[in-house]
Amino acid sequence: MEKFITHVGTAVPLRRSNVDTDQIIPAVYLKRVTRSGFEDGLFAAWRNDPEFILNKEPYKHGTILVAGADFGTGSSREHAVWALQNYGFKVIISPRFADIFRGNSAKGGLLTIILPQDQVEALWRAIEADPSLPVRVSLEERTVSYGSKTLPFEMDEYTRWRLMEGLDDIGLTLKQTDSIDAFEQARTAVKPATLPIR
């Protein structure tokens, strides 16, 4: 996983709320067995429309997506995170995220930032007025800045540390193998196992 410290890029105003994972990547694109190549399915239905924001310069090269509330609702598909990342997005900003999507993003190294609705709207106006306006995201300082504005955001210490170190969860947990062994020893016997019944 790549380390995330700061990132400067083009921000894309996606003026929609409730962007669910079926919109981010429709189910027909999920029939793959690898982790790459999902960028072609990103917002597939909307991208047929030449007026869609990602079909316009310079937004099509965007790396920061600024969306309405409840981004990533719906199906738990992590392909949504991969599709955004495969396309080139590093950061998603929204007033509210669906839990599973946010968890998936943190695991994959995609930064999700919650900003209040009015700050999102001000950011939308700024990047619509000047599409090439650079937006800077610092995980170190926990700020989003553009023009003369610097907006603080919250991020729990643990997730921040993991993202900044680029650490993978499984490796971290496997360091706790002794605790897991001990837990299993003490585990109640009434729980079922999936071994075939004969």
Partner: protein, 463 residues
């Protein structure tokens, strides 16, 4: 102070707890399927890791398997690739799998309970957001993403942040024709698609107690549509009765029941949030929009977005009406339907099929529509056939299919055509969910059956 059921289960599964970090939680049962597991196994292989506890893992094929001609090779090359990949991964890592054609194949959330693997007090995860279904047994069950699938495969644990708890009290008695599906749609319409976010929902109250186990599964199933990862119902005699005699029911039954009887929310426990619904006031409910929170009683009308105060919700309602091609003020019962879909992990169990068949018995479906009946599992199909339900559906003009997710998400050939409108017993009415350009109205099995007969959204009372 006492504890809620969710807190009790959580506490029993903490492997490690350190301030400032998520708790490491032990997972009792890990269900997998072909769509969200391939990359997880791929990750294990790349890092040289093994499945820690294959005997706590179970695989089934459901999401994109065909529901017709299942004895032939899967025609869609990508679906075939995913299914073959799952089979190879299970063989390589030693995981039990129920493949297409197997008697225990079916939708993962129907298969777990019918095997008796879903039991009270467990932690259950699956790379599918409707894992909340298993909460009906008093298990803490939730959907996870593919990286988490890999994490559970490798460690049988997950680092998780303790959720808050919300009590949803449904008190009173449901009127005839009002089902578990109507209850949960009404709850979601009340609290919104984000209302449950960060919470485990515990459904309580006399109306919930009165529900059968399968109806409780319908309620818990859609917890995710209110934004909650998990829904719970305290186990009781009905729960134990349902598990009894199932293939994986505990050998030491008395010990298990003694343990299960400790699984309830203490009288002096405090929920973070508590809401109450009057069961007597509930009516058959349908959705008119493109998220499950956009629903209304069937006797009502398509709402007027101009009357919605919240600007975000108003915008969403306006866009939904355009997508759904609906006009504000139209009586919901005037909406003509092209396809009726009876199935899914929400309403594809035997009781759902029985209740719809009872309405369709001796009737014909409207000539203007098609109806697909897709049992949730192969065992549900066989049970229905033993009871002659398949004959009733086919005599009415419906199609009788093999088990799978089918038109719930349209990954297999069962899809809506662009512009086509469905009444669907599934759980998601998102844009394009059932096929590109398709329009979905979520309904109960009773409304599905009555709609099939009349051709427009209807309840059995309209027949």
């Amino acid at each position: 102070m006492g504890k809620t059921l969710a807190e009790k289960i959580w506490q029993e599964h903490v492997v490690r707890s350190v301030a400032g970090e998520p708790d490491l939680i032990y997972i009792d049962l890990h269900l997998i399927h072909e769509v969200t597991s391939a990359q997880a196994f791929d990750g294990l292989r790349l890092s040289g890791r093994k499945v820690r506890r294959p005997e706590l893992t179970l695989a089934t094929e459901d999401h994109n398997t065909p529901t017709q001609n299942i004895d032939l090779p899967i025609a869609d090359p990508v679906s075939k690739l995913q299914v073959d990949t799952l089979r190879n991964n299970c063989a390589e890592f030693g995981v039990r799998i129920h493949s297409l054609g197997d008697i225990d194949q079916g939708i993962v959330h129907v298969v777990g309970p019918q095997l008796g693997l879903t039991q009270p007090g467990m932690t259950i995860v699956c790379g599918d957001s409707h894992t909340s279904t298993h909460g009906a047994f008093g298990a803490l069950a939730f959907g996870i993403g593919t990286s988490e699938v890999e994490h559970v495969l490798a460690t049988q644990t997950l680092p998780l942040v303790r959720p808050k708890t919300m009590a949803i009290n449904v008190e009173g008695e449901l009127q005839p024709g009002v089902t578990a599906k109507d209850v949960i749609l009404a709850i979601i319409a009340q609290i919104g698609t984000g209302g449950g976010q960060g919470y485990v929902l515990e459904y309580r109250g006399s109306a919930i107690k009165a529900l059968s186990m399968e109806a409780r599964m319908t309620v818990c199933n859609m917890s995710i549509e209110a934004g909650a990862r998990a829904g719970l119902i305290s186990p009781d005699e009905k729960t134990f009765e349902y598990i009894k005699g199932k293939p994986h029911a505990p050998a030491d039954w008395d010990a298990a029941v003694a343990y299960w009887n400790t699984l309830y929310t203490d009288a002096d426990a405090k929920f973070d949030v508590e809401i109450t619904l009057d069961a007597n006031a509930l009516a058959p409910f349908v959705t008119w929009g493109t998220n499950p929170g956009q629903g209304a009683p069937l006797n009502g009308e398509v709402p007027n977005p101009a009357l919605i105060d919240d600007p975000e919700e108003r915008g969403a309602a306006e866009r939904a009406l355009v997508y759904m091609d609906l006009t504000a003020g139209t009586p919901l019962k005037n909406i003509a339907i092209d396809t009726v879909f009876l199935g899914s992990c929400t309403n594809g169990r035997i009781e759902d099929l029985r209740s719809a068949a009872a309405i369709l018995d001796g009737q014909k479906i409207a000539s203007s529509l098609r109806m697909l009946v897709v049992p949730g599992s192969a065992r549900v199909r066989l049970q229905a056939e033993a009871e002659g339900l398949d004959k009733i559906f086919m005599a009415a003009g419906a199609e009788w299919r093999n088990a799978g997710c089918s038109m719930c998400l349209g990954m297999n050939p069962d899809q809506l055509a662009p512009g086509e409108r469905s009444a669907s017993t599934s759980n998601r009415n998102f844009e394009g969910r059932q096929g590109k350009g398709g329009r979905t109205h979520l309904v109960s099995p009773l409304v599905a059956a009555a709609t099939a007969i009349r051709g427009t959204l209807s309840s059995p009372a309209d027949l």
